[in-house]
Symmetry: C4
């Protein structure tokens, strides 16, 4: 994925302050860059917290005069960081249109928009997306391979899960239409889209209870729908479990036998292999004992 | 399954326009037939969307004069398509009584019925079932084998899941009767069927909240019922996971190798093995014996 | 389990009508006994349906004069059946105290009790438990081995699931007490048992909504409780899946290699075994090719 | 874990009454110590029951004069036990700051606090945590290895489950902010934290129904959020199932055999194998080399 490719230094600025800032901003291995990462994560979390607190009415009423300037300070800091990222990278445009670049832009834009359009400030919550940067920073730790395994299994089961979602949506449409006909608009099933919303809420076992069947026929259809949903919930779990077990087994198998054939160099032999399956050469005994 | 058998061309019409239309309608490999498939999917989705929008009251009030003719246009188009399918196929009756034929008929019938019976038009939502045609069209892609694996696992676990459903229904009846006795008709448990509906909603962890226990005894029974449901929910997931893992493993094993070593007899070689990993003997080449 | 041991014929009556009735009632292999089984299942389902319908008020109001005698007819039939079972079996007492004997007794007792205690008739729903007889009758079909696999896996995971239930109950007590302190009696958390009921309903993701947190602190505790419940729901499913996969694998492995050693007779060899692992005798090659 | 290290006897008191009480309190193998354990579990359960019953208003109104002294008796008994534990153990401070020591202290402190601060008595429910001692006492039974397997699998999947929780929290923040913008404060989404609470309740399929979307846009966002939650619920279950299956397999493999055949070198023999299944060579007896 494009997101994961490391940005490259602007070659025209391989020395001087730009080089130093590039290292600080985009790398995660030296002391200053780690401090920068830490500060950034703290700033992101703090700015999200400020937006969240500001949305609580009684806090807003009392602390608006503090929260408002703090929001602007974060906006200025993030703007400076955004400009800096554009300046020191080799291809500024490529960064600007990358997923991270767009998130970074979106996390400062609403503040400036709010100068012209009242209320736009609420959109600052988009900053929450910047929290995902934590994953990027954690990239250097052991969490990478774990998330790699998780994503590989998810990627492998994508077709099965898409098929599943498609089936669920089809059932939702039909169940929604059926309930609209059975219950009628008097009991909250005012339209097919409303009934479909109810069907999703019911099949996924959320069950808010804002719309409920009230006729005997409606309750029967609901019971059947629930039992279908209950049986179907097994599918994504089953698919994902099976693929994950598969991925784990293969990762293990790849680490299993480190021996390479002395003649043709083929790797990945089974542990009990005594001869290379490619060229018939006698293999060294495992662990040389 | 009958659904999956390809319909055959009417032999008396193997040339001419009928042959061309058969290819367009029933096949999915040439350019015109793909365009037809695409148009059909778009028309189905659009017609379902129209029925859905028409069910929303304020949209109906304002746009009925547009939505009504559009519904009729789709009805006419689908009628023409249905007739065409009957004309070009070798055995029209067999198509008419197949699952797809019945769905196709049901998706146009309500419109004509609405001329005589007011309100029948709402039944047009049955058209949603035609969306399933998308699967049929996707048949030629890689989704087939995926859904094959999913269905095989589901088919294999059918008996276990039936047993599970039977157990759930038995528990539902007994829990419903118990709650009817414990809570009485004052708290919404007005009859055993109502209480059974509540038991299904509760055990499947949907929990609408339209009927809730209000006595201490009722809450105790509910807690026990929930814990039973919570333990039992593991069964279909576990069954399906295990069967799916099994199916995946067998699919994999089938792709491995049936060759035995001519000298030592060891089996289970990888497909690219040229020499026995046990004794170094040259293996027969795969599929050439 | 005692339930599964076949009842034995009274030896003093090995001929004559008792023998015939024993075969009809307790066996499932001849034509008359199958008809009896079928009739019994139909009668059980019908009697449960009658009790269920009778609990619906407007049906009761109108059809009580029909439903009441029908209930008594079923009671008489089941009483005759119960007496018959006692008469023809070798040890009547042993049948009377078995699980099935008690269920059979309980399914007729409430009717007679209702002659003295008004309302006892509602207890007739206990008859629903007789539906479980269907499993017994199905015993001769392929469902037996399926349910055997399901039960074996459940039996194997019993300790893990007990540990899990114990953990859930401990968390429930602590969460209930915490919410009782945090929310107080004004918001429905009127006592620790009430709060525990709420905690079970919440952790199992049922969420009726009859009791909900209304303070910020209560909502925070609820969110944490839900996330704990959400992570913990994985345990029974995971345990059961793993045990079921294990059971399936072992069943398969036992069927894997049917070869017995020609000298010592040991069975259960791996497929690639060329010599008996017990006595070193050369094994016949699998499938004799 | 520190909790699991056995406390050691005070060496200065290896004889006399301290030694006897140490054996009784901290060991679980002799008759008196087992009686002590049993008494302790009963006392804990009874004291928790008393606190629970006392929280029910109509029971408190009627039985307070009984429950109040009983609570104090348990407090005195637990205080004596706590002092005893401190006296007989080798390092009293180490016990006092251990998890169990803190729980033991917390389970008596609220009673004494209630003499000065009214209402502190409710905190006595902390005693419920002492129930966990049952696990400690069960340590000597077969439940240990079972819980060992469960905990090992949980420990192995900790990183994956943390990643999952982190993802869920990020989605929660963004979904909460989105719903706050879409629905506005009129429909219960009064602030971003409130909307986040709603998002947790919804994604975990609890669905209390105290806050529900009422606009079409809000319902659409909700449906999407539910489908995401429905797909994501597979992750912890899948992770845990896979790791548990892995742990079970390894436990099994560890019980298999490390012996290699002295002639052909084949490994992976069953434990009861006396001859190599590949070449018929006599195997070395297990564990004798």
């Amino acid at each position: 994925m494009r997101v994961l490719t490391s940005p490259q230094l602007n070659p025209a600025t391989e020395t001087g302050w730009r080089r130093r800032w590039f290292d600080i901003i985009y790398r995660h291995d030296s002391r200053p860059s780690r401090n920068f990462d830490l500060l950034l994560v703290v700033a992101i979390l703090a700015s999200v917290a400020v937006v969240m607190l500001d949305s609580v009415q009684h806090l807003h009423a009392r602390w608006a005069h503090v929260l408002y300037p703090v929001e602007w300070i974060f906006t200025v800091v993030f703007t400076l960081e955004y400009v800096m990222r554009l300046v020191v990278v080799r291809r500024p445009l490529r960064y600007a249109v990358s997923v991270w670049g767009i998130i970074d832009l979106l996390s400062i834009l609403p503040a400036y928009l709010s100068l012209f359009i009242p209320g736009a400030q609420s959109l600052l919550v988009v900053r929450a997306l910047r929290i995902l940067r934590v994953f990027r920073i954690l990239k250097l730790t052991r969490y990478v391979e774990e998330s790699g395994v998780l994503m590989t299994a998810l990627w492998r089961s994508r077709r099965k899960i898409l098929l599943f979602l498609f089936t669920v949506i089809t059932i939702t449409i039909i169940a929604g239409a059926l309930m609209y006909l059975v219950e009628g608009p008097n009991h909250g099933f005012t339209s097919i889209p409303s009934a479909m919303y109810w069907a999703v809420v019911t099949m996924a076992t959320v069950g808010f209870g804002d719309i409920v069947p009230q006729t005997a026929a409606g309750r029967l259809v609901t019971s059947v729908l629930i039992l279908i949903g209950y049986s179907i919930i097994a599918v994504p779990t089953g698919v994902y479990s099976a693929e994950l077990a598969n991925t784990l087994r293969q990762t293990e198998a790849a680490q299993r036998d480190g021996r390479g054939c002395p003649r043709c160099g083929l790797e990945g032999h089974e542990t009990d292999a005594r001869y290379c399956r490619q060229c018939g050469e006698l293999m060294p005994t495992p662990f040389s004992c």
